[in-house]
Amino acid sequence: MIRSTRSSACATALLGLALSALAATQASAASVLLISIDALSPDYVTKADSLGLKVPNLRRFLTEGSYAQGVRGVVPTITCPSHATLVTGVTPAKHGIYGNDPLKTDGYSAALCTFASDVKADALYDAAARAGIETGSVGWLNTAGATTVKYNLPHVEPYESEITVKYQEAMATPPGLLTGLEAELGGYYQDGTEAGSEIRTRFAKAIISRYKPGFMMFHIIAVDHAAHAHGPWSDEAKKAVEHEDAMIGQVIETALANDPDTIVAVTSDHGQAPITRAFNLRVPFVEAGLIELEPLVPGRQVKVRDAKVQVGGGASAAIRLKDPSDAATRAKVSQLLHALAADPQNGIDRIVEGADVEKLGGYAGASFVVGMKPGTVVGGDYFGSKLVDLPSVAGTHGYLPEQSIMNASFFIRGKGIEAGRNLGVVDMRRIAPTLAQALGVKLKDADQPSLPVFAAGR
């Protein structure tokens, strides 16, 4: 809430003149289309043939453009922090999007990754607006209320019912954009399925062809949805990848019809790993007296009476002390975690603590981070079995980025982009400055070099 939209509006007004002059000198500036296929592991594309996948639109990038073998993500390797990194070029500790749902440790809030004002770092759309470039966006996270995104259908969760569409209508800018488009294109109600991607595609195409934004962002989630439910590389996930390939083909075609020189980048936020087990880390904390529960009542949700420690869940877990200066509790937690990590059954890969937590660039303020081995996730139960086998294989992400199975994707092609260049494994923070260079704009906070994707002379 500190970096308010009004200050960026002011900045736009003040800098507009100076920057438009600047932008004019950068003759290389191109239209940019940024696509994110949620949870697309690069292997779906780079190993498409051996996986038996038909992804012609994505495969074209390998020969006609440049691409990363893999993109090493940020902490945590989950959707909202990663998307904020994709557009700002900085870690979650710097852009402020620490988790998908930082407000709620149990369950689900409706505040998931909606608001632009939560992003504390300069984003590509801010830089584009300063340079006088109009931005359009469909389904991108943490963009609602961004004055620098001119045509915006922001990602709004949860997809619980058609009521969500009304929320989406209220969050769309300019006011009335979504209701107007719905009148022509049909309802915008969507869930995480392929049908949802089709709807987002239809609306994105309309925005691109109608408003011709110089910078367009587009995010679709059917691969993530299918991989969560059935595991990555499952038949369902593969089918979703092929489906999304067709969707992005349509969006790219529409963008190229506006501007044949458009630079197109396809990214993802993270990969996914198959999981079969949950390790309920809170159970030993309750047993150790670090979390105290109200007596259990049948039919009533368990209530925490007092907790010296807050234990997160997911593929890695942040452990936060109620009083970070409580040395005794810290020591007790450290001892407990290391004892748990010593039993390979528990699936703990490593315990990050002290100054090492800060180096992760995420989970700001946590006293410990528990990195799990792919295959096991930290469950949320406070009582019952410590280890629970899942009823069937599922997929997840959120493991520490050193687990290469979490690697995200980066493919880029278009005018001035080197053809057939494999960039190897790259740091996710380098994507935003690369796209800034493609747009001919400057990001204020990005602190990594852009990727060498530009052909000589550019």
Partner: protein, 462 residues
């Protein structure tokens, strides 16, 4: 000094007189809605030891109702919409605070937050059609309305005040309106009920809008009386203090409206009253026992979940009983049997069971198989486990009973140019409020059918 505005006004006035003819008694109206305020906070202020100077002035200078009979159910969203449209819930489509959703979803149902949820013509719509400048601070169900030019809507799509503020900022109109105001006036905490001055903030922002935008129709909604009465019972010291605080805000708002237009009409309404309550009747428990709701076997520490249902409870203070299959005569008979058995025990606090044509007459809870009307003091709860009857540790305030319960009566006060002074209208129907405001504005509501209240001086003298 002749300002361009005065010049314009001078030119436009004769035209308006010609066009407006007899109907336009006033050109601008400020409508303040005080959530949960029984009229007695004002009409019996002296006897109750309450200092309500600003609202008391309306009784002398303007016209007022001794009570306003509300709509079914007497809860905020349907009532606010009735005030803004002159139509009952069965027509406006805003049927309760939360929608009825099949309970086996085990998810909270949505509130009717959106202008699109309202199926009938609102005062904002009518004013906008007439070319009037409209504005709103927090009156319910405005989100996304193209008819409100300056809107700080009541918007709570999430369970967190911080997130709701962000949503309100984005949903404010025109784009970035609220953020621009916050830059001048400080943070808007009008949706953060944990702060002591959410109403004062709403009033401050509304005064600023009145001053800078000169809206011809402005609605403002204040919540403090309802919040304190819920927590401590109506007419509790806390609720009384809230009423006195709101009275001060009404004074500020009225002054700002009159500064913007000395001929402004100011209307103060409430959506419903409140009654004290000490007990909860958990109607779903006997439904579970009768096999009408099937829950998953309750496990310790796990929230109970509905597995399947034939009949379910849609609670206000009383409740509508919804059938999964309205044509299922056997279930209907069984529900009737359960309800009448419960009603026979006075401890359960059931006033009466309505069905069929009686429900239709309510013009609320359409589609309900039964409506359970409760006696003041007991409300219907939705718990899936635990005892049927629960005593509250301390009295609270509630509303949602059927509108023939006088404790549910809402308020209506009006003053300004052309309004009769010192006129007590007696007990009026809530559906008369919107057409009366429309008349004061000189605009026409499409769907309201109730007669205009006789508040206008000229008509009174006829």
């Amino acid at each position: 000094m002749t300002t361009p505005r005065a010049l314009l006004g001078g030119l436009a006035a004769p035209l308006l007189l010609l066009l407006g003819g007899a109907q336009a008694e006033a050109k601008s109206v400020l409508m303040i809605s005080i959530d949960g305020m029984n009229p007695q906070y004002v009409t019996e202020a002296e006897a109750r030891g309450l200092k309500m100077p600003n609202l008391r002035r309306f009784m002398v200078e303007g016209a007022y109702a001794s009570g306003v009979r509300g709509v079914t159910p007497t809860v905020s969203w349907p009532s606010a919409v009735a005030l803004m449209t002159g139509t009952p819930p069965a027509r406006s489509g805003v049927l309760n605070n939360e929608r009825f959703e099949p309970s086996d979803r085990n998810k909270p149902a949505g509130v009717y937050l959106y202008a699109r949820d309202v199926k009938t013509d609102t005062l904002w719509d009518a004013a906008a059609r007439a070319g009037l400048v409209t504005a709103n601070v927090d009156q319910l169900a405005s989100v996304g309305s193209p008819s409100v030019r300056y809107d700080i809507p009541r918007y709570e799509p999430t369970g967190w005040a911080t997130e709701n503020l962000k949503a309100t900022e984005v949903a404010s109109r025109p784009a970035n309106f609220l953020q621009e105001m916050e830059a001048r006036l400080g943070p808007y905490n009008g949706v953060d009920f944990d702060t002591p001055d959410y109403d004062a903030t709403r009033a401050r922002f509304a005064v600023d809008i009145l001053r800078t935008r000169k809206p011809q129709f402005m609605s403002v909604h204040l919540s403090g009386v309802d919040v304190e009465a819920h927590a401590h019972a109506p007419f509790s010291p806390e609720a009384n203090r809230a009423a006195e605080g709101v009275d001060g805000l009404v004074g500020q708002l009225r002054a700002a409206a009159l500064a913007a237009d000395p001929d402004a009409v100011v209307v103060v309404v409430s959506d419903h009253g409140q009654a004290p309550a000490t007990r909860i009747l958990n109607l779903r428990i006997p439904f579970i026992e009768a096999g009408l709701i099937r829950i998953e076997p309750p496990a310790p520490g796990r929230a109970a979940r509905v597995a399947d249902w034939k009949a379910d409870v849609w609670a206000a203070a009383g409740a509508a009983i919804m059938l999964k299959d309205p044509a299922d005569a056997a279930t209907r008979a069984k529900v009737g049997e359960v309800l009448h058995r419960l009603a026979a025990d006075p401890a359960n606090g059931i006033a009466r069971i309505l069905e069929g044509a009686e429900i239709e007459k309510l013009q609320g809870f359409p589609g309900a198989a039964f409506v359970v009307d409760m006696k003041s003091g007991t409300t219907v709860g939705s718990a899936l486990v635990g005892p049927v009857l629960v005593e509250r540790p301390a009295p609270v305030g509630v509303h949602g009973y059927l509108p023939d319960n006088l404790q549910m009566d809402a308020s209506f006060f009006i003053a300004g140019k052309g309004i009769a002074a010192g006129r007590n209208l007696g007990r009026v129907d809530m559906l008369q409020v919107a057409p009366t405001v429309a008349r004061a504005l000189g605009v026409k509501l499409k769907d309201a059918t109730a007669p205009v209240l006789p508040v206008f001086a000229a008509e009174g003298s006829r």
